[in-house]
């Protein structure tokens, strides 16, 4: 199983995402933003970081990269795609996921160990969890406040597209404590928290994050 990790100028957590893919038992494949080459991968991770310095809007410039257009096309055909933090921002900017991520309500960058509830355990990236399961992984962002018009939020809730929710405190003022959302078909997931930072006892607050990366192995095999 080959899982691509895209590096944009300013990507930071690509090394972490690569490690998580490896620890989950898949083969990580480095992908370069400027090339139209998905190298035959079965799934793609857009990692965290500050692509293009988060200038203009977080994820806005990266969303126009050549490779992202390919990712959008393949995702529409069902390829699993995970966007973490800046990767989530890129997916929203590219139109693959609804809503937008804006400046945190308290205007600070905030890094802390965050409790989350898995709302949907049937997306390509969450089948290793049980619905309702509580996990703890790091969150760290300055522009992580999920927003959308109220009617759109109602629709997303109605369609069950909230994949992950903050519990025991909302770190950034996200609407309805939304930490992550999924595409209608459950193949594309974006979330602000960082599961790739919670894959080893030595370095993470838990190993709760590994499930995202093991889930996709089943999703691809099952597809």
């Amino acid at each position: 199983m080959r899982i691509g990790v895209i590096t944009f100028p300013g990507s930071l957590d690509d090394v972490d995402a690569t490690r998580a893919v490896r620890l989950a038992g898949a083969e990580p494949v480095a992908l370069w933003h400027a090339e139209h080459d998905l190298k035959g991968v079965d799934a793609v991770v857009l990692p965290g970081g500050f692509s293009y310095g988060d200038y203009l809007r977080a994820g806005a410039i990266a969303a126009r990269a050549p490779l992202v257009q390919d990712v959008v096309d393949r995702a529409r055909q069902g390829m699993p795609v995970l966007g973490i933090c800046n990767g989530f921002q890129v997916l929203c900017e590219s139109g693959l996921l609804p809503g937008a991520l804006t400046r945190n309500a308290h205007l600070h960058f905030r890094n802390r160990d965050q409790a989350l509830r898995i709302e949907r355990a049937d997306t390509a990236w969450t089948t290793s969890y049980a619905a309702g399961q509580r996990i703890v992984v790091p969150v760290k962002n300055g522009e992580g406040r999920y927003v959308a018009a109220d009617a759109d939020l109602d629709r997303l809730e109605g369609e069950g597209r909230v994949a992950v929710r903050y519990v025991e405190g909302n770190p950034n003022g996200s609407s309805r404590d939304i930490a992550g959302v999924t595409s209608a078909d459950g193949r594309v997931v974006g979330l602000m928290p960082h599961p790739e930072h919670a894959v080893e006892d030595l370095t993470g607050p838990s190993t709760d994050g590994l499930g995202f990366f093991t889930s996709v192995l089943e999703a691809v095999v099952g597809a």
């Binding site: 203009l56 809007r57 806005a60 126009r64 929203c92 900017e93 609804p98 809503g99 937008a100 804006t102 400046r103 945190n104 309500a105 308290h106 205007l107 406040r145 927003v147 959308a148 018009a149 109220d150 003022g173």
Partner: protein, 79 residues
């Protein structure tokens, strides 16, 4: 070189913590006359030749602003 100004503002239904922060700071400093503040972005573009209004509108609406949450105002040079 002609200058084009693009102002990007949050849609009214999207909350604006930066504007809120300014408003509250103004209140504490005794500037009670200010009742609302919204913060947006202001771009100044130097454009070669005669600006192409359609192209600039597209730039403003698809790149400089995120249409999910923001509106744009395009100010082309007069004439």
């Amino acid at each position: 070189m002609p200058r084009v100004v693009v102002d990007v503002v949050l849609k009214p239904e999207i909350s604006d913590p930066q504007g809120q922060a300014v408003l509250q700071a103004l209140g504490r400093l005794g500037h009670d006359g200010v009742r609302g503040v919204r913060q947006g972005k202001h771009f100044v573009l130097d454009v070669e030749g005669t600006p192409d209004a359609a192209e600039l509108r597209q730039i403003a609406e698809t790149l400089l602003a995120n249409p999910v949450i923001e509106d744009v105002e395009l100010h082309l040079p007069e004439g």
